[in-house]
């Protein structure tokens, strides 16, 4: 018996090798797409690049990313360096965006701000992706009572007023995290001190609250996947549950994962800028797009361009990410209409 269970075949089976016998019908809530309709990955990318809006937004995102990640390497200024005697300069050749009231070059600060905003967006989305995918996959695969309980918990988390809790979290975590980072010896934690505890609070909030949408989408897909024949085959060959989820279920959710992550990035950037605008996000002297807008509010009568620059970068970035996410969803022929922006 044991021998049979551990038997591993050396031929690998494709989906096409199995004849579909189980034509079970699902209600609309459970099943929103036929698995066979999912286009191949490269095919989806092909559709994506053929779309003008998607191609343009990819280009703009790349340009902004280059601006944010390569710019600071080229520029001779840093985000914290104060040039004495060069305060409040208007835009010129040496300082294309001028300098602020403390004599810091605004262009470099804008680069760093964009970098921080992008990083926060990507990292939060990855956190959400990991938690949401595991939760959704487990819930969907086990189905029945486990699924029921897990989804009620998700319902509960979904109804918690998110922004209120995020603001609270960022206030509460500030002091303890600050002490932790400053007292710790490890270089890894010291780097976080630079970003400030507000950012960690944002990550924590995403990990606690925002995985629900992702988990629901993945669960819906897994409910379809688990009835597929290759899962039955894997079970027959003696795969454990963990192995099936890891090797068969999750790789088949790739398209859903890509789309939800891509739609999550702009909403994370959105939230971060909102918090930083209220003065709760990234701590000085590090900056983000939201805190740049907040700083510029003080001088908006005389230095309007300081306000316009981060606003434009923020809006263009979010717009392009939104468009890209939408087009990706179309490209993957993704039936799910619910958008992440709601959350």
């Amino acid at each position: 018996m044991n021998k049979i269970l551990t038997f591993q075949p050396d031929i690998t089976f494709n989906k096409e090798d199995f004849v579909k016998i189980n034509n079970k019908d699902f209600s609309e809530n459970e099943c929103f797409e036929d698995n066979s309709k999912i286009p191949k990955f490269s095919h989806a990318l092909h559709i994506l690049f053929k779309n003008k809006a998607a191609a343009v937004s990819i280009c703009i995102i790349l340009i902004i990313a280059l601006f944010a990640f390569l710019g600071p390497l080229i520029s001779k200024y840093t985000y914290f360096e104060q040039l004495r005697g060069f305060e409040n300069l208007s835009p010129s050749f040496f300082h294309p965006f001028g300098t602020d009231g403390l004599g810091r070059d605004i262009m470099v600060r804008a680069m760093y701000a964009t970098r921080i905003s992008i990083l926060i967006g990507v990292v939060s989305s990855v956190i959400v992706l990991v938690i949401g995918t595991i939760y959704g996959a487990v819930s969907g695969y086990f189905a029945g009572a486990v699924d029921n309980v897990m989804m009620r918990v998700a319902d509960l988390v979904y109804s918690i007023p998110d922004v209120i809790v995020v603001i609270l979290l960022s206030i509460v975590l500030k002091q303890p995290l600050y002490e932790l980072f400053n007292n710790s010896q490890s270089a890894f934690l010291k780097n976080f001190a630079l970003l400030g505890p507000g950012v960690i609070a944002i990550f924590a909030a995403f990990a606690l609250l925002y995985w629900v949408t992702n988990a629901r989408i993945i669960r819906g897909h897994v409910l379809v996947l688990r009835e597929q024949d290759y899962i039955t085959a894997a079970k027959a060959l003696g795969c454990g549950r963990a192995r099936i989820i890891r090797k068969h279920i999750i790789p088949n959710c790739t398209s859903q994962m890509i789309v939800t992550t891509c739609l999550m990035i702009p909403s994370a950037i959105f939230l971060e800028s909102f918090l930083s605008f209220l003065g709760l996000g990234v701590s000085a002297p590090m900056t983000s797009l939201g805190s740049m807008i907040n700083e510029a509010m003080d001088g908006m009568y005389s230095y309007t361009y300081r306000l316009i620059i981060p606003c434009v970068i923020l809006c263009v970035l979010i717009l392009c990410l939104n468009v890209l996410g939408d087009k990706l969803r179309d490209a993957f022929d993704y039936g799910q209409k619910a958008t992440i922006n709601e959350k």
């Binding site: 609309e28 809530n29 989804m151 009620r152 319902d155 509960l156 979904y158 109804s159 918690i160 007023p161 998110d162 922004v163 209120i164 809790v165 603001i167 609270l168 979290l169 206030i171 509460v172 002091q175 303890p176 002490e179 629901r216 819906g220 702009p266 959105f270 800028s273 909102f274 605008f277 209220l278 807008i293 509010m297 908006m300 009568y301 309007t304 306000l307 606003c311 923020l314 809006c315 263009v316 979010i318 717009l319 939104n322 468009v323 209409k337 619910a338 922006n341 709601e342 959350k343």
Partner: protein, 313 residues
């Protein structure tokens, strides 16, 4: 149906209790108390203050006391911002202001969103549709606080058309409400356009056309009824979004609403006021979602009550 409503109300109460407990415990985790300041008061004074407000007891006992008081509608008194004033008084004074601005924003954004969405779905593919589509995708990329600052610069600083501070005249309502409702308006337009276009392509519309019904009746009596449901179920999250977006917009336009007090209370660590505003915000949002869900369930007979909320679909 009745079971569904009871279940949802029960769920809502659990959420509010949960948020209350989380807030309470979180706040007590912050090192330092509300009475510490640069000028450190006498230890005796602090002790007496703590005794007065019951802060000397263990957290669990404090939580129990707070919950008992809360069930009587008592949220304690503010420690710092408006000393010894009842939190409920502060909320009842400032919330109507937030509510008024929020309601105007909610109403105009919903009405404008639905009509724009219908127009754009009806003329799908035309120039109007493309312009609306472009503008709304632009609009969903602009956070409300960015839009509010831009409005402030253009209309208060450059053109000097509207007052920039406070709420003293009708004119001063225009900008905050417009700023607050702009993002939801764009979002609703997109939502309505998608669902209307979906409805218009269905068979029952063809049948209605085939039997010679007027266009007006087809759109307003048949298609709109079905196409409005996604917008309706978005109203719950929308109310929450407007309320929280109001926090930033209120601070930009200097409106003395509840959002401003929320931020103030947090930065000055006024425990009862933080608790009060958080619970109030949470309860309001949860209640809005609850009402909208129930209304949706009554209007749309297709909702499956056994499954709980339709949001999952």
């Amino acid at each position: 149906m009745a079971i569904y409503i009871v279940k949802r109300i029960f769920q809502a109460i659990i959420i509010i209790l949960f948020v209350t407990c989380i807030t309470f415990v979180l706040m007590n985790l912050i090192p330092g108390g509300p009475f510490l300041s640069e000028k450190v008061p006498n230890a005796e004074v602090i002790k007496n203050l703590e005794l007065k407000y019951g802060l000397d007891k263990p957290v669990i006992v404090q939580l129990k006391n707070y919950l008992t008081d809360l069930s009587h509608g008592d949220m304690g008194v503010s420690y710092k911002i408006q000393k010894n004033r009842k939190v409920t008084d502060i909320i009842s004074e400032t919330f109507p202001i937030s509510l008024r601005v929020g309601m105007i924003a909610l109403i105009w954004s919903t009405l404008a969103g639905i009509s724009l969405g219908c127009v754009s779905a009806y003329y799908k593919g035309s120039r109007t549709d493309r312009i609306v589509n472009f503008l709304t995708s632009l609009g969903t990329a602009v956070p409300s606080f960015v839009f509010a600052t831009v409005l402030l610069i253009v209309f208060c600083v450059k053109i000097k058309l509207f007052p920039s501070i406070g709420l003293y005249s009708v004119g001063s309502y225009i900008l905050p409400c417009f700023a607050l409702g702009f993002f939801p308006m764009c979002y609703i337009t997109r939502l309505e356009r998608a669902s209307m276009a979906d409805e218009l392509s269905k068979d029952y519309i063809k049948t209605a056309k085939a039997k010679g019904l007027e266009e007006n009746k087809i759109i307003f009596k048949h298609a709109l009824k079905n196409a409005i449901i996604p917008v309706l179920s978005y109203l719950g999250p929308l109310a929450a979004g407007i309320l929280t977006g109001g926090i930033a917009v209120e601070s930009i336009f200097n409106i003395p609403g509840l959002g401003k007090y929320f931020i103030l209370s947090i930065t000055s660590r006024d425990y009862p006021l933080i608790m009060g505003t958080t619970i109030f915000f949470a309860a309001f949002i949860v209640a809005m979602t609850l009402i909208i869900d129930i209304v949706c369930a009554i209007i749309d007979p297709r909702i499956n009550f056994a499954e709980g909320s339709k949001k999952a679909a």
